[in-house]
């Protein structure tokens, strides 16, 4: 029962990531694509936590920690480059 609900949650997250992919491909400017990238990283973080639950290994959460702590660097680097601050 629990696992079934979690499967549905994972499928909805995959759909959400595919929707953001649309914005990434279309997005008129580089900044729009950057927003899509940000949303993708946050959503895939939840996906990683779900994968850790499916495999029932606590060690997979460490990967999610690295993701959560460092993935915002990419967005900041590109933004600073765009606004001439790098």
């Amino acid at each position: 029962m629990i696992n079934k609900i979690l499967f549905i949650a994972a499928i909805i997250m995959l759909l959400a990531i595919l929707l953001t992919l649309y914005r990434f491909i279309k997005g008129p400017s580089a900044a729009d694509r950057l927003v899509a990238f940000d949303v993708m990283t946050v959503s895939s973080l939840a996906l990683i936590a779900l994968i850790a639950n499916f495999s029932s290994r606590v060690i997979y959460i460490d990967v999610a920690l690295v993701y959560g702590l460092l993935s915002f660097l990419g967005v900041i680097i590109v933004s600073r480059y765009l606004e001439r601050g790098l």
């Binding site: 029962m1 629990i2 609900i5 979690l6 549905i8 949650a9 994972a10 909805i12 997250m13 759909l15 959400a16 990531i17 929707l19 953001t20 649309y22 914005r23 400017s29 580089a30 900044a31 729009d32 950057l34 927003v35 899509a36 940000d38 949303v39 946050v42 959503s43 973080l45 939840a46 936590a49 779900l50 639950n53 029932s56 606590v58 959460i61 460490d62 999610a64 920690l65 959560g68 702590l69 993935s71 915002f72 967005v75 900041i76 933004s79 600073r80 765009l82 606004e83 001439r84 601050g85």
Partner: protein, 123 residues
Amino acid sequence: MDSTIGIIGAILTLSGSIFIFLGALGLVRMPDLFNRIQAGTKASTLGTFLSLIGLLIITPQWWGKLILLMIFILITNPVSSHILARAAHFIGVPLADKTVTDKYKEEEKTFSIKDEIKNDTHD
């Protein structure tokens, strides 16, 4: 294993994933960049947060790392979307037609650097 508490956690995770989906939908539907940040990043942050709370209820022995993950998300995500919005306003990403007011524009401290973003291909 089908305890009531576990099912509550699973439903929280499901609602978190629905928030993530709504955020993605907002990202597609909203007319300009700032509204996309509003709808997209914030809703997906809350969605991830709720999903992690749900997982915390399902597997309470992972408490430390999951709580730390939530703290990291709550610190890092607003910073990145703030920096992104600031940069976007600076390089002149157009606001939507519906925009009522822009109090920031008059007072933005600009340097006299020309906007070269559009021809950025270097060829």
